[in-house]
């Protein structure tokens, strides 16, 4: 694959991820995007769904990227939670492929459902078949959704669909919807923990 093809494929993949999230939001919503990177998702949501809101990001370069993209960003470390954000002040809190880069997993999930009634989470499934094959062959997996070598990955938490749902149960978080996709972007119905490379969740509080 040439660099151009790789980039085109990554962009296609990204638009597809964004569309999954956009489908779960109502037009005109107020959204908080945690670990928002350069604000591309928020810009997409604003352009396609008239969504407003803020990104939260710790990385200096990404904050600059947000400003260039015209996205409102708050630079802060969310490992300590969402201190300062009021209860139920957003329609959705989104964390798109960033939960695995943060240590305070439980606190972040709990805080997301304090600040909004519903949360959207996506993450790479470590138990995906290709990842299992890599481990069986004695290597840490490098794949479409886990594209980093073990020595320079930003990821600090490695978990599976089954693990994540176990944590949700323990935290009394209700799973309202789950979607899993393989590396080709095909939706997976059968044994998602084996066949799903990327998982998306719509979460709420158990009432």
């Amino acid at each position: 694959m040439t660099e151009h093809e790789r980039r085109a494929r990554a962009e296609q993949r990204e638009r597809f991820d964004f569309a999954v999230i956009a489908n779960w939001l109502s037009p005109g919503e107020r959204v908080l995007d945690l670990g928002c990177g350069d604000g591309r998702l928020l810009r997409y949501l604003n352009e396609t769904r008239d969504v407003t809101g803020y990104g939260v990001e710790i990385d200096h370069g990404s904050v600059l990227g947000c400003i260039r993209n015209g996205v409102d960003v708050i630079q802060m470390d969310i490992e300590c939670g969402l201190l300062g954000f009021e209860d139920r002040s957003f329609d959705h809190v989104v964390i798109s492929q960033a939960l695995q880069t943060m240590r305070a997993t439980e606190r972040i999930l709990t805080e997301m459902l304090r600040v909004a009634d519903e949360a959207v989470v996506s993450f790479p499934n470590f138990a995906y078949r290709a990842n299992r094959v890599a481990i069986a062959a004695g290597h840490m997996p490098v794949s479409e959704d886990l594209p980093y070598d073990w020595f320079d990955t930003p990821n600090v938490r490695f978990f599976t669909i089954v693990d994540f749902e176990g944590l949700c149960a323990r935290l009394e978080i209700e799973i309202r919807e789950r979607l899993a996709f393989d590396e080709a972007g095909q939706e997976v119905a059968d044994d998602p923990n084996l066949n799903g490379s990327l998982a998306f969740y719509r979460l709420g509080r158990k009432s």
Binding site: H60, I67, I74, G84
Partner: protein
Amino acid sequence: MSPENSVGLVVPRRMQFDTPLILKSGAQLPGFELVFETYGTLNEARSNAVLVCHALAGSHHVAGRYADDPENIGWWDNLVGPGKPLDTRKFFVVGVNNLGGCYGSTGPLSIRPETGKRYGADFPLVTVADWVAAQARLADRLGVDTWAAVVGGSLGGMQALEWSLQFPDRIRHAIVIASAPKLSAQNIAFNEVARQAIISDPDFHGGYYAEHGVVPTRGLRLARMVGHITYLSDSQMADKFGRQLRHGEHKFSYDVDFEIESYLRYQGNKFAAFFDANTYLMMTKALDYFDPAYDYGGHLASALARAKARFFVASFSTDWRFAPARSREIVFALLQNRLRVVYAEIDCDAGHDSFLLDDQHYHALLRAYLGNIAV
């Protein structure tokens, strides 16, 4: 400074205002004069005007240099100019010396019409709100209905915030850098030390030193020294001076032993040679009194409910005078009002004074934000 992106030679202008101004304190100024500079051109739609507000010791001389004093370069020249982050090819930039200042606007050094003598200590205390009211009159006369942005660092940032509250419809973007929604007890304490240094100088004469033909130089020098400590970070001072000795050995005297002592004395002397003591006292009081939440039971979000502007708020990691947490207070009060805000916490070693430096990332942020402002 590369000359090709300097605004070049500039000339300050004066504007006289004859309608009395009732101040926050209840006192009244029958009229006043403001000295100001402009860079760039006001466009036909009058939509590209940016006001730059100065901090404690700043002035209207924001950018460029004077023909008769080429060493006197504007205090934010690294930010303002053609091709610079605050680009004068796009914006019409206005710098103004605030009321009560000592760079030419009406202040304690001005002659009081009733007496024919300098105001001295009789110049009334002016507040951030009063400054903004006076700046609004200047805007009227310049034909600026709405500022594209009001920009300021430290005390200047407070003016940008105040603009968004006093004239919500006359400011589209508030750019608030290294600032705070009010001073802490520690901030006020440092100001009080500075004031007492001036007031207790035997040459102060209750503020009427001009009539005695003297200046409370020792007090001003001390005030600036204590202030300067709060502008720098511990780590930067350690890097710059550490425990370096002036004479290579301990002298066992009260003369300059350590380089940091020499630096502070130099800064104090430089400042005391030109800054007016009454203006300094008044500026520190304006800082102390600034507290938009005061009339709202201390609830900042309620105070900001009037605001309509979009905000860019930035703080610096090593600023302990107005630490990042102080900027976050503003940010979260804006969020509670669902106002649009960008907040950046910049890694910079230079403490509070970072806002005056041309740190690459800091200027890139400002360039990006200002670049997106429609005119």
